[in-house]
């Protein structure tokens, strides 16, 4: 299994093939289509990430000692963003998720989504994924 670092490098490399924002966005939208979708029963307010203009639901399950995320969003760009995050964080140990840095976002030209005031709440999404890691880490111990 690849480490978080390796997945991030892979994504950075994929995005480096594009010269302009439009291609990057189109690719992100494509990635959104391959997002492992959340089971309908979890598409409720309990699983919504606050702080986004669009709705984002995330659910996590433990498979052995690894976390597996599923998600969905009603906005296509947001769906792309959460898909990228899930690709990075899914199938990883909670400790690795908690230790992970996220500056790769900057490198793939999505820095503008990192601002805490940004309505799509990329920051809130990362925080929520890490919260799941904390919660499951306690379970594992």
């Amino acid at each position: 299994m690849e480490t978080i670092q390796e997945v991030q490098e892979e994504i950075v490399e994929e995005f480096s093939m594009f010269d302009d924002w439009m291609q990057r966005y189109e690719y992100m939208i494509e990635l959104g289509k391959s997002l492992p979708l959340i089971d309908a029963q979890y598409k409720t307010d309990d699983y919504i990430i606050k702080g986004c203009q669009s709705k984002v639901w995330v659910h996590a399950d433990l498979e052995k000692d690894k976390l597996v995320f599923t998600a969905d969003s009603d906005a296509i760009i947001t769906k792309g963003i959460i898909a990228i995050l899930i690709r990075v964080f899914s199938h990883q140990h909670p400790d690795a998720i908690l230790e992970a840095e996220t500056e790769f976002i900057d490198k793939i030209g999505l820095k503008e989504h990192l601002s805490p005031t940004r309505a799509n709440g990329l920051v809130s999404m990362i925080k929520q994924l890490k919260m799941y890691a904390i919660a499951f880490k306690t379970q594992l111990n």
């Binding site: 924002w21 966005y25 669009s54 009603d74 906005a75 296509i76 309505a119 799509n120």
Partner: protein, 403 residues
């Protein structure tokens, strides 16, 4: 009206965003500031920055004179009977809170307040808080599919229990111009007071508070080419006298001893602390700027922009405009079928076009249409037909990417 000449007064309109010329269509959120107003702010800090109403020295006198001259300009613009009926506040929200807090002492359990379905959260939440405090009840004038208030329902809501009606002059989310003349007249007929939120109307419609016979009219300078952090509460002298002060502090007192403090007269009773002096002066300058162009010219030109923009957007397949009242300001709220407004806003931003997306702090309206939000393009007199063309082109590109 020479739009190209006017645009030169707004330095910000010359800038680029994401490598594209800025097209600023978020005027309903905040309008841009002309150099004439910016110069007034700079001049204040360079030449006569001082605290007002206190010092005997020259700077304080000059600052006081300029601030009070601005109050008179505002009084004249809105045709208030007296300058002291104009209270400087930090903006519309602050103005509404002064009235809602004051009303906490004037209401009893079972009294009724009437609000409209078209309100901004800032004209809903303070009244809900007031109802919690006093046991008063909040009634809502419903709207129809066009975003027009149902006046026959309003008639039914009015009763001898109604104390206060508060409605916006223009809806921020849909641009609907509400029939405030009739709303005020009917409320007065049963002895209720009326507060009109003029934040969205002020840049487009010149309200004459005496002709309207309105009890309270509130607005913010940043909606009409002034700076942020300054606005007004207009109140009839008799209404403001009844209302207890909002905040305690300096400026708002007549005499202070530890046994008893007596409050200052109007407008100082509501102006505790050092105010936003440069903001007040700049508000006056912004009104000068706008009146120099002419409110009627502005309204006529914006109506043309609205017609042009509406016709252009309606041609886009799957696009639906929310807010189709016969009387509306230059605001177009819309969605494209199958696409989230947030996605459209993000792509438009990449193409240099600033629009607002989301619920526009008017969630009850979004709930009515059962949508998460809209894309809202709002025009000002410095916008052009060519800019609308750019938006339509950008929108087509966005739809292509997102569908």
């Amino acid at each position: 009206m020479d739009v190209q000449k006017i645009r030169k007064d707004f330095p910000i309109l010359a800038r680029e965003v994401n490598g594209k010329p800025l097209v600023y269509f978020d005027n309903a959120a905040t309008s841009q500031t002309p150099i004439q107003v910016i110069d007034v702010i700079v001049d204040y800090y360079k030449n006569y920055n001082a605290n007002i109403h206190r010092g005997v020295h020259a700077l304080s006198q000059e600052a006081t004179d300029a601030y009070e001259a601005a109050r008179q300009k505002i009084q004249k613009h809105f045709n208030a009977a007296h300058p002291h009926e104009i209270i400087f506040t930090s903006g519309t929200t602050h103005s509404i809170n002064i009235v809602s807090n004051g009303y906490a002492h004037l209401l009893k359990k079972g009294d009724e307040l009437i609000v409209s379905a078209l309100e901004h959260h800032s004209n809903i939440v303070p009244w809900q808080m007031l109802c919690e405090k006093t046991g008063a009840l909040l009634k809502v004038i419903p709207m129809n599919e066009d975003g027009v208030l149902l006046m026959e329902e309003y008639d039914k809501l009015l009763s001898d229990k109604t104390r206060l009606v508060f409605v916006n002059h223009v809806s921020n989310a849909l641009g609907t111009v509400n029939p405030i003349e009739s709303i005020i007249e009917k409320a007065h007929a049963i002895g209720a007071e009326v507060l009109i939120d003029g934040a969205q109307a002020s840049p487009h419609i010149q309200a004459d508070v005496q002709a309207l016979d309105v009890d309270y009219y509130v607005t913010s300078a940043h909606k009409l080419c002034g700076p942020t952090g300054i606005g007004i509460l207009y109140g009839k002298e008799s209404a403001l006298k009844r209302l207890p002060p909002y905040q305690g502090g300096g400026e708002m007192i007549a005499e202070v001893t530890f046994e008893k403090t007596t409050y200052a007269g109007l407008p100082h009773k509501f102006e505790a602390g050092t105010p936003n002096i440069s903001g007040g002066i700049a508000f006056g300058a912004a009104l000068d700027y706008i009146n120099n162009i002419g409110m009627n010219q502005i309204a006529a030109y914006e109506e043309e922009l609205l017609q042009y923009g509406t016709a252009a957007l309606e041609k886009i397949p799957g696009l639906k405009i929310y807010g189709t009242a016969p009387q509306k300001t230059a605001v177009i709220s819309f969605n494209v079928k199958g696409i989230h407004p947030y996605d459209i806003g993000s792509i438009l931003d990449k193409l240099g076009i600033a629009v607002r997306t989301g619920h526009h702090c008017a969630q009850p309206i979004m709930d009515y249409y059962q949508i998460p939000g809209t894309v809202r393009a709002s025009f000002s007199f410095y916008n052009t037909f060519e800019e609308i063309d750019s938006m339509v082109e950008a929108l087509k590109k966005a739809i292509q990417m997102l569908q």
